[in-house]
């Protein structure tokens, strides 16, 4: 499955968001891992650890078809990502730099959510974690109804 351009764009934005947020004195880790961990935290609450682990494994498998380099990455039983640091370099100070592997993997995960839950719920979920993330579709940042 090729990741959707819409999800690739969203993934890129999330990675940028985390790359910027990580541009501090915090321990250096990849933006991909930070995005993934935030998604994991929220999705585990929603679907359980086993549910998230299954979803992430599927996303990884789908992403590998586009980025074979992800073959070294694994999803552990508790849903944590293993081996990503080896292929995705830690955040660089240049905030415009985003790794391709990360974009494809995160967009693959978001694509699965989109497929299962639809756009409204997926976007709500993303906005819940990244309330300030900007979208290209002209919607306000917090597009949720009140």
């Amino acid at each position: 499955m090729i990741t959707l351009p819409e999800m690739r764009d969203l993934a890129r934005r999330l990675l940028h968001c985390e790359a910027n947020a990580g541009n501090t004195s915090e321990p250096v880790e990849s933006a991909t891992l930070r995005v993934y961990e935030k998604l994991r935290g929220n999705l585990c609450v929603l679907v359980g650890v086993a549910g998230f682990q299954a979803l992430a494994s599927r996303a990884l498998t789908l992403a590998r078809s586009e980025v074979p380099g992800l073959c070294a990455v694994q999803v552990a039983a508790d849903g944590r990502l293993q081996g990503i640091s080896e292929i995705v370099p830690p955040m660089k100070l240049d905030e415009n730099w985003i790794d391709k592997e990360g974009v494809i993997f995160i967009s693959s995960l978001l694509g699965l959510l989109l497929m299962f839950l639809g756009k409204a719920l997926t976007m709500n979920l993303v906005l819940n974690v990244w309330p300030d993330v900007a979208f290209d579709d002209g919607n306000p940042r917090d597009g949720r109804k009140t």
């Binding site: 609450v45 929603l46 549910g51 719920l121």
Partner: protein, 504 residues
């Protein structure tokens, strides 16, 4: 104790059309409820409707999913219902998966997890779905009973209205301590009746509420669960006073036979065999009502509204204009798997919507056929409830019924429902002078002095027209095979003799 000193229990909307009426006006706030039933009976959907109807960002709902249906798929399917508002997630409705805790730890840990989330969120509504999957873990009865007891106490103290959802079989209802703790017990059933599925809901208990007893039909549509109260929701409806007026049929001679017309609020049965003009008479009744400013409903089961209206045109009656003006509704009730309660709901809603004063059910045979086979056995009882409910709100009902034409008997109705009707008009064929003609007679009129005459009528382009002269000189007209009476025959013979004399 003074009434003012008693605590007032707030009633929360269930979010399920028809269910508020059944539970006595709404679900008691802070109650601890169990929704039980077999898989596929609509438990989760019902709980979702309640959650979406009551959750707010200030007082959100916590929806704990345990083992069983995955939350991802549950959300995938539930969002297909129209009540599902994605914008309510996650601010107003939060889904929390407890499967890991349930699998790896004991009930105490589950309770701790629920407690932690409730204290953090301060929810108005808590749902545990499916709570039964926790029960199936090897635990002692005491453990589970203790867990439920503590959970109920905790959630009530935290002012949360709670639903536990569980798959239970009917036989588990007895002697189950879990059900003792619950304030409310909702049982959903789904049974196959020949080729139809019948869904029924029972409020087995609901503390502090005057719920409607018995089994209530419900349906699951794209709008979710919709319940149909056995009392047809009439307690929530505005009563229309029954007047003392006589309602015209639009057939002057028939009005005379009825001592001025049908008494308002009566149930009238028009019985006759095929082709005797039952539907024609019914159409004239409804059209005359519209002319008199009385909106009407026609419930048809055997033909579609368009065809019904077109047939009226051939009688010189315009049913299109009043439909467009909101004075008439022709209801076509989807055949084959209806429940009476569901049908009634449609009719009552239509009555309420246009303020109908007249209702035609054309025909009872079609109505029965439209019902799910499981409901046909109760048709008579259901009909009684329906007629009682409708005439109680001042609607005058005309039902048509087809009876087998026998030339030796004169049955009023094959349904033995004549006791449900205030007035009965019988139409039938009769063989006279080598012609198949039609006669009409008012069999019964409760509280009225109706004509005893047997009148001949014709169906013309103006509808049913009663022939001026009443039929005299025949015996056994209602048998369908009359003979000339002796007097009449003698008169005829003497007339014939004098004619011959005159000729000679």
């Amino acid at each position: 104790m003074n009434t003012q000193d008693k605590v007032t229990i707030n009633k929360l909307p269930t979010g399920v059309p028809g269910l508020d009426e059944i539970v006595g006006g709404g679900l008691p706030e802070f109650s601890f409820n169990i929704i039980a039933g077999a898989p596929g009976s609509g438990k989760t959907t019902l709980a979702h409707q309640f959650v979406f109807a009551n959750a707010t960002p200030e007082r959100p709902a916590l929806y704990f999913t345990v083992l069983g249906e995955s939350a991802l798929k549950m959300l995938r399917y539930q969002q297909q219902y129209t009540f599902f508002d994605p914008a309510k997630l996650p601010d107003s409705i939060r889904f929390i998966n407890l499967s890991q805790v349930v699998l790896e730890k004991d009930l105490g840990a589950v309770l701790d997890e629920i407690t932690k989330e409730v204290e953090k969120t301060d929810p108005a509504v808590v749902v545990v779905d499916s709570f039964r999957t926790m029960v199936r873990k090897p635990q002692s009865d005491m453990d589970m009973q203790s867990f439920i007891q503590r959970l109920a106490l905790f959630l009530a103290s935290w002012q949360a209205t709670t639903f536990l959802i569980g798959e239970y079989a009917e036989e588990e209802l007895r002697d189950n301590p879990i059900f003792t703790v619950a304030d409310g017990l909702f049982w959903l059933r789904q049974t196959a009746e020949r080729n139809s599925i019948v869904r029924k809901l029972q409020i087995i208990k609901l503390r502090g509420q005057d719920s409607v007893p018995g089994l209530h039909t419900f349906r699951i549509t794209d709008a979710g669960v919709q319940a149909f109260s056995r009392t047809f929701g009439l307690t929530a409806r505005v009563k229309n006073p029954v007047g003392q007026r006589r309602l015209s049929f639009g057939v002057p001679e028939l009005d005379k036979m009825l001592d001025g017309g049908v008494r308002e609020g009566d149930s009238v049965l028009v019985a006759g065999s095929s082709g005797t003009g039952k539907s024609v008479l019914a159409t004239q009744f409804i059209a005359e009502g519209i002319c008199q400013g009385e909106p009407g409903i026609v419930a048809v089961f055997e033909e579609r509204p368009q065809a019904y209206a077109e047939r009226a045109v051939s009688l010189g009656l315009d049913l299109e204009t009043p439909q467009n003006d909101g004075k008439l509704t022709i209801l076509y009730l989807r055949p084959l798997d209806l429940s009476v309660d569901e049908t009634m709901h449609s009719i009552l809603d239509a009555v309420q919507k246009i303020g109908a004063r007249r209702l035609v059910i054309d025909s009872l045979a079609g109505f029965e056929m439209a019902l799910s086979p499981g409901f046909r056995a109760d048709f008579r009882e259901s009909l009684y409830r329906m007629i009682f409910a409708l005439t109680g709100i001042g609607v005058t009902i005309l039902s048509t019924v087809e009876v087998d034409e026998s030339f030796t008997e004169f049955p009023f109705s094959t349904y033995s429902i004549s006791f449900l009707c205030d007035d009965i008009i019988r139409l039938r064929y009769v063989s006279i002078d080598d012609q198949l003609r039609k006669i009409m007679v008012v069999i019964k009129m409760r509280g009225g002095n109706h004509a005893k005459d047997i009148r001949e009528y014709e169906i013309t382009s103006n509808g049913v027209v009663i022939v001026d002269q009443r039929l005299t000189g025949y015996q056994g007209l209602i048998s369908g095979l009359p003979v000339r009476s002796n007097q009449s025959a003698q008169e005829e013979r003497s007339s014939h003799d004098s004619e011959i004399k005159n000729q000679t």
